[in-house]
Amino acid sequence: MTDNRQNLRSAVRAAITLTLAAAAYEALARSGYFAPALLPTLANVARALFASLADGSMIVHAAFTLYRVLFGFCLAVVVGIPLGILMARFQRVEHFFLPLVSALMPIPSFALVPLFMLWFGIGNLTTVLIVFYAATFPMVFNTWSGVRSVNPLWLRAAGAMGADEQKLFWKVIIPGASPFIITGMRQAFLRAWIAVVGAEMIAASDWGLGWVIFDAKEFLNTDTMLAALIVIGCIGFLFERLVFGSVEKATVQRWGMTRAAKG
């Protein structure tokens, strides 16, 4: 009961904070102290958002960005998980790839954007490859440490109970490594999402949320910029909460891995 009241009070306070922040912003915007082109009122931002949603342009931009990010992300998953598993299961593979992965990982993906622009031109190919580069490393690293951290006792127990290689792999190793793999996917998507916005800004094509923001800057359309920012935030938030949350629920939690990992 008190817990409920506590939560209610938190919610009320959060609402008050947000209202106050919005009001402060609105006051600043209307005070005329800053140029209205730089600090649009909330009503203008909302109008820009609805206008671009209504004529469909924002939806097309979002679709382009999503296509790039998902394409790159899927490539990263397809390459990263098998590579991580191979690295964890075979020492020879690990010895070859681990130094490469640790040397390439600290290079920010944006540093490669100008190079990729020269090699692959402006547009989809460059952005997808940048996303792929950004997302692969967390995928590989987490899969690798996940498979390595599977309890050896489980492996031996399964072996003693007569599991062959294939069964061992599907029934013990994959579920055992799944919390790490899903964490890796989450991190990879987060990085991919950051990378796609940056790549779209620099390697500008005609469509994409990053390009909208950058293009709006040229024309001082701050309201469009803020609207695109809102869309970017919402999509990122939705993916993080809904997609990965439900994937986690369907796999790791159902298999009881999170509890096992904690205990």
């Binding site: 938190s10 306070r13 730089l38 540093a111 100008p114 090699w119 800004m201 923001i213 950058f214 920012l229």
Partner: protein
């Protein structure tokens, strides 16, 4: 006596085998780079791609040496590092303060948490044009943006860290008569430090990633990101590659030397985590 002689005999042998082991490790680490470098070299020399776009390793090395001797590359690198450190210092000061406040006072948590959780999931670079408009091109906006973006992981981790300090430690310190300041200094801060350091590490990695991109957009006069981006216009792929190498080395050094050392001095020494 017998034991002494066997030890005397086996000690150099053991040293020798340790040296051989180390050599083997070095060779094993270099081998993959040699393979990749060899493939690169073959493709570059084969002339499948124009040499301007796909330089040989010698080209990259020679432009690296030239740029280093003429002092251009160090100047770019130093400016980038200064920008990184000042942005990160801002993030560290504000991030830890806000995070600790959020964890210690319910009111602060209610005020900050909604703002932080709305701003955090937006990719840092998406703010870049906004910051450029508000604070102009150049140093100010790039430092502010780096600070702003890398503050979020620090805030989140300090917040969780302080919350994760065991209740029983706080209560036992209080019952032994610790006042608020000593409680904070001797119990809460050391207890939360592993989390705070993790947050700083994440924050620094993010700052580094964002900074390179911001330098491309913000038209700063010096900086590695700008160097790479500028080289694109003149098709100086070798300069770009040299810049990327420097960026990788700095990133690796930050991770390996700075944070490993800080951890050794604080958390590991206090016995909070195993080394």
């Amino acid at each position: 006596m017998q034991d002494a002689t066997t030890i005397a005999v086996s000690a150099p042998e053991r040293a020798e085998s340790a040296a051989r082991e180390r050599l083997r490790l070095i060779v094993r680490n270099i081998f993959p780079f040699a393979v990749v470098g060899g493939i690169w070299e073959i493709v570059a020399l084969a002339g499948i791609f124009p040499r301007r776009l796909f330089p040989t390793l010698e080209d990259v090395a020679s432009s690296f040496v030239q740029l280093t001797i003429s002092g251009i590359l160090p100047h770019h690198a130093i400016d980038t590092v200064i920008r990184l450190l000042s942005g990160f210092a801002l993030a560290g000061i504000f991030g830890v303060t806000i995070g600790v406040l959020m964890a210690r006072s319910r009111r602060a948590e209610d005020i900050f948490l909604p703002l932080v959780s709305i701003c955090a999931p937006i990719p840092g670079l998406a703010y870049a044009p906004l910051f450029l408009l508000w604070f102009g091109l150049g140093n100010l906006s790039s430092v502010l943006l780096v600070g702003f973006v890398s503050a979020f992981p620090i805030i989140f981790n300090s917040w969780t860290g302080v919350k994760a300090v065991k209740e029983i430690w706080i209560r036992s310190a209080q019952s032994m008569g610790a006042d608020d300041r000593r409680l904070f200094r001797h119990v809460i801060l050391p207890g939360a430090l592993p989390y705070i350091l993790t947050g700083m590490r994440l924050g620094l990695a993010q700052a580094w990633r964002i900074l390179v991109a911001v330098e491309m957009l913000a038209a700063v006069p010096w900086g590695l990101g700008w160097m790479i981006f500028g080289a694109r216009k003149f098709l100086n792929t070798d300069v770009m590659m040299a810049g990327i190498v420097v960026i990788a080395v700095i990133g690796l050094a930050l991770e390996k030397f700075v944070f490993r050392k800080i951890e050794d001095y604080t958390v590991v020494r206090w016995g909070m985590i195993a080394s």
